[in-house]
Symmetry: C2
DNA sequence: TTTATTTCTGCAAGCGCTTGCAGAAATGAT
DNA sequence: ATCATTTCTGCAAGCGCTTGCAGAAATAAA
């Protein structure tokens, strides 16, 4: 293994000088710099990341803590994070919390102890106070897919209210005034925000939003099936379903189709996320595109920015989802 | 940050002693060990990976190099690897090669330079010689989902021939003697092996396998659509399709259904992988379960085993897929 | 009890890189 | 030519952990 020392000897300078040339953090005279660079090229020297991390008291990796990579949503998120990090020459360590609530926080603590300064956390369930604590401890902690006002500039999330609004507006524009909601029973803000946004759109068109049909269930395919059943028991008047996410939407469609309901002729369905599943199901699902890739990219940059001396990323913002028209909503 | 030194002071011993109880590599008297362990617990000490890697000249993480995490197959694989590693107290660094061929190898090289001794590589396209080179260089390199005879004991893969055989046998058992194949156009062994296995089953029952209907395309949903179209152009006699994987199977089913073909009444379809999509599509897909989780688990242990002094994992073997009956094959 | 063994613990150097500090060299001002 | 500045380079300590070596303590043998 070629070290600084080898390069230094070849160039006839001290290791400090070589270090300075390599890191570029300090001024080195042109002539010496040239000598050193020549020696580096000749030896094929590559800095040892571990030694560097040790001396710098920080890691060159960023940590990603996510509930379950085997779910398409998080897999895509992880892929985005890795790619973005890769472009910046940093690697990413991923922790899977296997869905167990407490694990996410534990994973973060472990990363902290391992010297990670940059952590991307996707955690929707735990108390805000816990997250605020972590944020205070880790300057490079970025929260994904959740918004906490006190740390707005460190949250990378989607504008759920606007997303819900856009989805409902699309339904309304296509004359589906009787919208039923299938939503997640997770105790997080997202489902409420989306419905809230939808109701704003409805109210704007003079539709009463006080007696909306709403069914809650797990945010999964099965949950979608259950929820739609609940809906069916309550009423048979709705002509459109606004689902919390693609999985629930597909579950609902499957269940309806199994019962002979034609989609979108009799009932239209709109999802949220735009995962692969939405192109696979029949009819292909019209849904709100969740800009996961862009968000992953931003999150990586944000975290790195937070721990660098010169901040470049300024204002906080929420990402706006985008409507993807496919075939699950009947059009006028 | 809590270091060995803190623990040592609290326990009233030297850092060497603490190091020894932590690593377990040397004998420490019971009484001292207890003291130290108490101190460790009290302080919540966690070894600094960078320092450790530096001193040991190796890393405590294992690296996973995989084509694209946003694909369900690899996401599941990654989740399995992370969980298995987690159980053993090691973390995993993931590199995404974004499908670009050469990237996989580059990712491996980067990991090597960073001092990784344990690398899990999923690379189906590059030349065998390149992989053999890497294997020679990195003792803890394990190859996933690909078999190379010279390094059989370092390959973790599925028995594709048997898998293909089982799938075809199931079709045959249900009186589908006219089987058409939809296969991947990737230049890897898997598609051939699966068809080969299928033909063995057919031959065993006296069916001529020389004029089998085969259509190749990308191993994706779209590829499945294209392939089934090609099949339809060539013949209308087949009553069953054996697809290379679930994605192709679903693509084929969708396309057939769009053309009014009833599945499984008119044509039966069987897939391979058992990804989430196979339960989502309609009819739910009968498929060969790919034991990704078990394989991920084994791969992690194998890699660690390869770099440890005391080998425990002996014989090499291939994992056998398992038939999952759902509703896409009509039964007798 | 003394001596030979065995077992345990601490010392100190080293893994490769970074950086505050201070001395050397170069530049400018007088 | 002399002294004050500024610029550059090297020294050496330190990041946290490991480990060969040797001395101390405990055990066994005589």
């Amino acid at each position: 293994m070629i070290t600084l020392k080898h390069v230094a000897e070849l160039a006839g300078v001290s290791t400090s000088t070589v270090s300075r040339v390599v890191s570029g953090k300090d001024v080195v005279s042109k002539s010496v710099k040239d000598k050193v660079e020549k020696a580096i090229k000749k030896t094929g020297y590559i800095p040892n990341v571990n030694a560097r991390a040790l001396a710098n008291k920080n890691s060159t990796s960023i940590g990603l803590v996510t509930p379950d990579l085997s779910l398409a949503f998080f897999g895509t998120l992880a892929a985005g994070v890795i790619d973005a990090a890769d472009d910046l020459g940093v690697t990413v360590d991923i922790c899977n919390s296997r869905g167990k609530d407490q694990n996410n926080l534990n994973a973060v603590k472990t990363l902290i102890k391992r010297g990670f300064n940059n952590i991307l956390l996707d955690e929707s369930h735990c108390a805000e106070s816990k997250i605020l604590e972590l944020c205070a401890e880790v300057p490079g902690l970025v929260l994904m897919n959740r918004f906490i006002p006190q740390i707005a500039e460190r949250c990378v999330c989607v504008d759920n209210v606007t997303g819900g609004n856009m989805a409902a507006s699309y339904l309304l524009d296509n004359l589906h005034n009787n919208i039923a909601f299938i939503t997640s029973n997770s105790e997080i803000a997202d489902p409420f925000d989306r419905i809230h946004g939808a109701k704003i759109a409805m109210a704007k068109r003079g539709i009463d939003t006080n007696n909306c049909l709403v069914a809650q269930a797990a945010p999964t395919i099965d949950g979608g099936k259950q929820a739609v059943l609940e809906l069916l028991n309550k009423s048979d008047e709705f002509t459109a379903i606004l689902a919390y996410n693609d999985n629930m939407a597909v579950g609902a469609m499957n269940e309806l189709q199994d019962r002979g309901v034609r989609i979108p002729d009799e009932i239209s369905v709109i999802g949220f996320d735009d995962l692969a599943i939405s192109t696979v199901c029949r009819p292909a699902l019209t849904t709100m595109h969740y800009p996961i890739r862009e968000m992953a990219d931003y999150a990586v940059k944000l975290s790195l920015d937070l721990t660098s001396s010169k901040k470049t990323l300024g204002t906080s913002h929420k990402f706006i989802p985008k409507l993807i028209e496919r075939s699950s909503v009947s059009k006028i």
